[in-house]
Symmetry: C2
Subunit: 347 residues, 2 copies
Amino acid sequence: MSDTQVTVGILGGGQLARMSACAAYRLGLRVAVAERTAGSPAGQITPLEFAGEWEDTAFMERFAAASDVVTLENEFIDAAILGRLEALGKPVYPGAATLALIQDKLVQKQTLAARGLPVAPFREVDGAADAQRCGAEWGYPFVLKARRNAYDGYGNRTVAAAAHLERAIGELGHPQRTLYAEAFVPFRMELATQVARGRDGAVRVYPVVETRQERHICKWVLAPAPVPEAVRQRARQLAVAAVEAVAGVGIFGVEFFLTRGNDVLINELAPRPHNTGHYTIEACCTSQFENHLRAVLGWPLGSPDLIVPAAAMVNLLGKRDGPLHLGDLPAALRQDAAKVHIYGKAE
Amino acid sequence: MSDTQVTVGILGGGQLARMSACAAYRLGLRVAVAERTAGSPAGQITPLEFAGEWEDTAFMERFAAASDVVTLENEFIDAAILGRLEALGKPVYPGAATLALIQDKLVQKQTLAARGLPVAPFREVDGAADAQRCGAEWGYPFVLKARRNAYDGYGNRTVAAAAHLERAIGELGHPQRTLYAEAFVPFRMELATQVARGRDGAVRVYPVVETRQERHICKWVLAPAPVPEAVRQRARQLAVAAVEAVAGVGIFGVEFFLTRGNDVLINELAPRPHNTGHYTIEACCTSQFENHLRAVLGWPLGSPDLIVPAAAMVNLLGKRDGPLHLGDLPAALRQDAAKVHIYGKAE
């Protein structure tokens, strides 16, 4: 809170907050973390750990008082909570207005489509009749999704036939959760990039990467994507337009489908550092985490360019790949040029 | 203290501890910091901050109990204090025996010379008569140094003529502080490298760099040093031999003089990450800080190779270059490809 001790407050204490904190520490910043429980991956690495409920106004005011600027590490915090922080006069980036256009994925699609940006056909689904109409119009399979609080495939169902519709709708939590549907895109590749956008609207775009998802979870990333330069250029243009459509400030992850006809469709926008951009820590001049901080602080953005000809990143998950024991880490480190990041998650 | 939550304890809370902590966090480690006062650069970035005196046995036992392995960020902690931690059964790297051979610079010179390693002529100085003998034998100028607790030139005096001897000896604190003398080496360049040495004796050597010191403070570093490969090779061999001479485990900085005849003399050995090696964070496959942690944890060491053709690092100090205001930082960051590290020092 002084000239030489700027504190960045992060809503959420997961791995993305931890990696943001590491970037912050190299810039001489302090970091405050607000998470529901103590001992989160980011909470472990700061003395300014706040454990409590984001819905608790007094708690959030204490957190805000410790922070010069507030940012977030996931899109699940309700925009109204950000709005209350803004009403206190606290700078919040990305802000409530941006979150409101992103965290409801139906609203996100509508926002992008309203700007003329290419997305797969989509429609609100409030029950089986709506879903039936989607199948009739688009054919099967198509994709049912929860509008909010879905991540890593929890909250998505690919519906192969009309007979499975009722079950998928129920499994996704309808009617407690609101749903929407998207046409299935028979893509030949998935692409992603990250866009840093400053308070002044300046943008820097990271290399366009190929991503391989398995069961909706990012498995590996290859930078740059092995596609024609014109495709990469198109993806970069769309990414910037998407972030501008939501008036975003900070780093944004943008995912795309590359169709068999080499069309680029925007799949999803995330208002935070993105798991397809972790490679930027080692492989780019300025990591996505550092540029995120620079953006939310109103500082000039750094070069997002690769400092190596190419980079690959593999994502290992305890649940999928077996639990990690630190005893196994030495073997991983035996790969001479490999870089290993451990997120400090309890599971 | 559990399988998935290894804590590295660092004695000292300065910038080198802070940078080590950042590397630790990326490896999923926790960090404990012991410093005399709270709010140190490293203490700011961990919930496990211990503020107290290293000479306070109960304090050190609390710190040790929180740490799975103990390391240090400067050579000013008395070897006997490390010895007490080792007596508690705590792994300490570098250990008491290594520190005892390094922290007294006269003993360090004697240790290196006893191994036949090339150093400038040196001699213990216990008063003006000893110093006069140095001048008579080596000529002027020569260098008077405090044997212990000297850094960044505080504790060094270059004596230009016999008439200045008494004053220099007094200014260096004799007889309260013990002194020694070194012949002045009319070097054509200063070189440095870092050596990581594991618990198992495995070594990895960083690129040999040119360093420019101004008033005994590192001003800039150029990697690799613009000297013949044979010179770099010689420096690397000497660096490894020096670290082996003190049975070092962890990262060690080694400084050299390159004489006009292209001889390489060892100037100094530091049992910790070195300010001539900060460039390794961006420019090398594995930073000196990460390899330090890997060494003290008994993990395999990573490649120290450059991932870019060359790198330069400039060290800005508040006292020399004017106080830093965070308001100035945006201007520094406007250099597109520059990386800035702020150490969080109060001054």
